[in-house]
Amino acid sequence: MVRRRLLVAVPVLAATSAGMFALGAASPIDPAQQYAGAAAFTTSEENLAQIRANWGVDDPLPVQYARWVGHLLQGDLGWSTSRHEPVTSVLAARAGWTLLLVGAALALVLVTSLLLGTLAAYRRGGWLDRGLRASAYAVQSMPVFWLGLAAIALFALALGWLPAGGLTGITATGTDPADVARHLILPVGVLAVAQAPWFVLFIRDAVAESLRDDHVLAARARGLPGRTVLFGHALRTALLPFLTLVGTHLPELVGGAVLVETVFSLPGLGAVTVQAALGSDFPLLAATTLATTVVVLAANLVTDLAYAAADPRVRLDD
């Protein structure tokens, strides 16, 4: 199945990148004007035309796309016109931070939602269940951006426990892991809290449902201890659809990371992607889109593999 999935990935990636270029070509924004900024209003048309010619952005779309694919096959992702550096170095400098943020937030969401959702389902209607559901709905209605600013106001300004933003202390000269970790507590926490409601509510409902299943009732009837029944039987049944949810929810997590990066001034991929879109920077846009597509395809593949591992009824050799 892995090989088949990889074969499918090629046309998907080609279609995504071609779509990216087509959308970019339809955009009326002149990348040279975007590059010039305020100077665009005092720069002569001849000057802007020279810059566009240097970049080759006036060439017909198929020419630009073919050139890009040609370079891609040689491992060169091209030149970012909005960042003014090779796309590979933009990605190298920034993708790591975005991955770290998303990865840590995902881990936190998984652990807490599994734990809290299961406990809430076990004591359905109890104070934990009601409190959790109420706060899940409340958090679901808050924009990530707002959550971030509120967290800064509380933990950085009012209490002074954590830094308000940035990747390291403002006068630090390197990236000390402990310093970075301290700076990532708030962003990771905010991203996790913002994404948690989906997962918590899902687990709660799924476990509550499976608590009524025959096999769980049977386990109870056999007199197994409550904890074994809850985590060993009920949660296990609920876990399968949860894997699917994680796979499909990953793009949303990446979207949330873009906003969190803005609020906490983290030098990740979020801000540059927005800038690339505003500046019609095809190479960078295509690269970030491709990277996201690869991550989503990989996540789906991993979900399916995990599914197969968790449920022997699922067979991969079709």
Partner: protein, 536 residues
Amino acid sequence: MGVHTLPDLRYVTSRLTALTVAVLALAACSAPSTTPSAPGGDTLVVATAGEPDALNPVLNYGVDGGSLIFDGLVSRDESNRLVPALARDLPTLSADGKTVTAKLRDGVLFHDGSPLSAQDVVFTYQSVLDPKVDSTLRSDLDMLVSVTAPDPATVVFRLKYPYAPFLQRLTLGIVPAKVLAGQDINKAAFNRQPVGTGPYEVKSWTPGDRLVLSANQKYWAGRPANKGVVVAFVADDNVRAQRARAGEFDVAELAPKLAAGFDGQAGYRVQKVPTADYRGVTLPMGNPVTGDVAVRRALSAAVDRAALVTGVLGGAGEPAFGPVPPSSPFAEPSIAGKAGAAPDAAAALLDAAGWKPGPDGIRARDGRPAAFALMYPATDSLRKELALAVTADARKVGIKVTPEGLTWDAITPRMGNDALVMGYGTPYDPDFVSYKLFGSAFAGQGFFNPGSYRSPTVDQALQEGRDHADPTRRQAAYSAFQKQIAADVPWVFLTYLQHTYVVSATVTGVAARVEPHEHDVANSLWWNIHTWTKKP
């Protein structure tokens, strides 16, 4: 089927955990990890939204000086007057106005220890002129024919035509030829790790995060008074305000309304800095309503500039009546009108020109209603508020304005027929922007004179100001220019903006000077930060 066919739960969770750990490990590998270091005792931290694309003057970084990393042949003092920098004295202009000669200062070293020579100056300017280089500065140097170095300490610029304010263009930072020669300047590593002669050298730049500068101990004008500067790049206004409130920054640029929150707060003061950046309404001559000078004059009388400053700008601005800022030595004081609205005067002007009020209160002449569209870039909330205020003021005198928020690609084709909220301005020389913005030779050429304003008096005055270096002659020319613009009203000038900063009380040495529109690392309140000190 049933419970016993499921594998061990622990197996699944351990798989998931392993996956998460792998993601984290991957991320950690790609992140650079170095050792932490002690914070510099008197390192200053400033915060701005403006992050340069590249730290290379040839690629438009800090072209008007104040770039912290580079020096030009000349620089500007607190009143924006030119003073010698890498040139020993102010360069001299030949009698015909077409040759400029600069003698270099002795003993200036680049950050890498190599000495500055005239070849570096020649290389810098030739790079700007090279069409293969992505420099927008080329448009401003179209009078420059050649740059030569007859000896290692002399640079000669030859111009196509006499150009009086040429010295103002010599603030461009000088780059070392040796480091850049033979490279593709657009893609050189230099753009991230530059080498200049300025008071600070670049230690590191993490785009999107910060620029770390350390004092150049061998700076030709004397060692900086502090150890270094960190420029934090925080794009969002609210986030920057929050982080400033948490005490992270010594100076932060903030929007006026956010800065007001720091007024009276212990440890901070708010610094308002005047700028030459004006906002106004272009009134195209091709439109049958705005093409009538009576309508244009009436609009200029009808707008309440004082209310714009207090209401729209939160007090961070001043009324504008012309394209030369009041802080400029060339400003003509007689054109300043009343800051408040003068609806009666406006009505009288319209009555006299035959624009009579109709039953709905909108004036009309020969069956044509006094109505026009006012465009503004939809993403610019300040221009939107200005457009709405002008609409309301115009309505009071019977002119119907329809505000339209659009994208630039929708605005540009319509600039010849519809009014537009625009902004320009430079504190340095009145020739810089106005020559192209109001000269008839540029009528209808993109953003240069989009309203196709034509006035022989203005053309002659602008040419005179550019041709002759004699200060009294220039003064007279620009006075005539401003008076004619005030009479013809091709634009309704609304306000000059002010930039607002919050400054920590521990910092001494701040000297605000009139700022241009563009200010980021270069040319902000911290233009002279190498003389600042900080109390512990």
